[in-house]
Amino acid sequence: MNKNIAEFNDIVIDVLREVGNIGAGNAATALAKMINKKVDMNVPKVNVMDLPDVPDLLGGAEKEVCGIFFKLDGDIEGSIMFVLNTQSALNLVNLLMPREDATFDEFTVSALQEIGNILSGSYISSLSGLTNLNIQISVPSLAIDMAGAILSVPAIQFGLMGDTILIIENQFIEEDVAKSVQGYFFLIPEIDSYEKLLNSLGVTL
């Protein structure tokens, strides 16, 4: 398959939005259970963006962000990445374990990997349930660096297919708006897996 994802029709975008919705919904539920608090969620935004514009989503190519990356294996090969700005990352850890003046120390990093694991895991398990495909998720790998550098990872994979990238934006809201968490999921299937994924959802390109 060598379809440019810009050519995705409305039905495909709707299906992917729904997948994003269900996946993120499960992730929000998992998060709520973990912190024993209600977590609200906005309807995810599914965007198809031009590659060079992607870092602007996170405040520019040089902005320091946190990326938590997982490989996918099984019927679908590829990866999933959860990216959030550093303030959202600290807010997320604070939801679970409130601390004064938290920084990116060992505790924060390890907590983020674990939270990322739960969020991405529930995302992938709902995708797996929807598609009836067996999808395994790897251990997390975390990086805190420039947005451009972190986002080059999904951008390159999408670059194999075209000049656009598919992004699912999620916002988890706690009662206190200043503490809300804005995160972006990038579902990054290998080329061959994209078609398989969409076919399993009853969509043909």
């Binding site: 870092p55 040089e62 990356f69 790998s141 451009g148 986002l151 990872v153 951008a155 000049d163």
Partner: protein, 161 residues
Amino acid sequence: MSTMIKVGMADLKVTSSPNVLSTLGLGSCIGICLYDPVTKVSGLAHIMLPSSKTIKNNSNIAKFADTGIDELLVKMEGLGANKRRLVGKIAGGAQMFAFSSGNDTMRIGERNAEAVREILRENRIPIQADETGGNYGRTIEFYADSGRLLIKTIGHGTKEV
């Protein structure tokens, strides 16, 4: 007055002294900087993938090392550079996320760097500085007045080569 010219992802630009070419947040991509010290013509390509040959959807020539370098040479010669005098500096090609069982997708930074070195060798362009690899992002500024390359990172210092 020098102007700072931004080069985006899968993009390339050429200029001459005293202007500066810059690309922000290089990860696994490579910034290829070429310079003619006599005419002070400079070029910067921000490539994402090693080769256009294995990919059907390859209309964006600045995305690939092979077609990107070819186009950079044409544009620089258009500004008066002589290919025989060109020298190169490269940066980027990091592996942002580490896994013990690295498959080809994960090693893309390294494969990009290898492809760039090979193509520059074929074009007989010596590489004066090779700041590739590692697991961190880089912002680069390439000064056409001197050919110096400034590399900025988060937590890995600043370097001039």
